[in-house]
């Protein structure tokens, strides 16, 4: 019986990590599902679905040495491998401003209360060390309609958060 696992890898970024780890997984009879790699603050991060006949412990054994060589921490969770079930976002939200604590919490809580289901969130701290700016892009589904979200961002704007909504209309041809 094949099992699905979510493999999480974190470490200092350097060239060749993806090639090295995917080769290890291939040689360990692990098939890859969906994956998302990001470089966050100079750190390499990836989450990758793997499908294999082997046990969790067997996969851990195969990964231990290559991850040690690459100075990577890894973590494995057993998951349900639900492929072919992508949700299509209908709203894109951009949040930006001077970086300070609590922006994400304020924005995501207000939008959640107005019916937003977040499908994708990426944020960056840009600007300079003495003047950091925060930029966050969120894609999601407006479960209670766009108007509810538009109303929810008014108080956020009044608090000085730059936030904009853009409807995403997916063209299927």
């Amino acid at each position: 019986m094949s099992n699905w696992y979510m493999l999480t890898l974190v470490g200092a970024d350097k060239p060749g990590i993806v090639a090295n780890i995917t080769k290890t997984l291939y040689e360990a009879d692990c098939n890859l599902g969906e994956a998302s790699m990001n470089r966050l603050g100079g750190n390499f991060t990836v989450m990758v679905m793997i499908n294999t006949e082997h046990s969790e412990n067997a996969v851990k054994e195969k990964l231990a040495l290559p991850c040690k060589d690459q100075e990577l921490h890894f973590h494995i969770d057993k998951i349900e491998g639900k492929l072919h079930n992508h949700h299509v976002p209908d709203i894109s939200i951009i949040v930006s401003g001077a970086d300070h604590a609590g922006i994400v919490a304020q924005v995501t809580n207000a939008l959640y209360d107005a019916g937003l289901d977040i499908l994708d969130l990426n944020s960056d701290v840009a600007g300079s060390e003495d003047k950091p700016i925060y930029i966050c892009q969120i894609d999601g589904q407006a479960q209670d309609g766009i108007k509810a979200l538009e109303a929810a961002i008014i108080p956020l704007r009044e608090k000085g958060i730059d936030i904009s909504l853009r409807e995403i209309e997916t063209m299927v041809g």
Partner: protein
Amino acid sequence: MSIKEILTYPDSRLKQESSEIEKFDALLQSIIQDLEDTMAEGPGAVGIAAPQIGYPIRSVIVDVSSRKKIKHHGHLVLINPEITEWHGLKTGREGCLSVPDFTGNVVRAEKIKLNAYNQLGESMNFEMEGYEARAVQHEIDHLDGLLFLDRLVSRKNDLFKRKNYK
């Protein structure tokens, strides 16, 4: 009337260039009817191209009239369509009947001028913009053996970050 199977990637027929149509005969009318019937069965599709149902000929249907608050030209059967002018660029999200369960960002011209024939062989000219222009560009790509997968742009970075110039 017949609903055809929609070819899905990686079927090699989707990568073929389609031929110009020279005869506006009964065979063409029957292929167009197949396209109409198949598109009507598609989940929310606003366009379809003949090669998607296995006919490598330059014929597409585009109908974005179901979308609210946009400029459009209604239900269009386009034979040998040719874009003659492109203006502006815009990123938008696309999906495709031939690539199920995947959507992605694609950059297309915001406005186009288009020459085509209708199914009776009459010449037509259009100026199109926005969603309709995107749909037409997507369908014409099918006639050239291209899928939107060939034009995907980053799904994260449509906010372009300024580089530090000194």
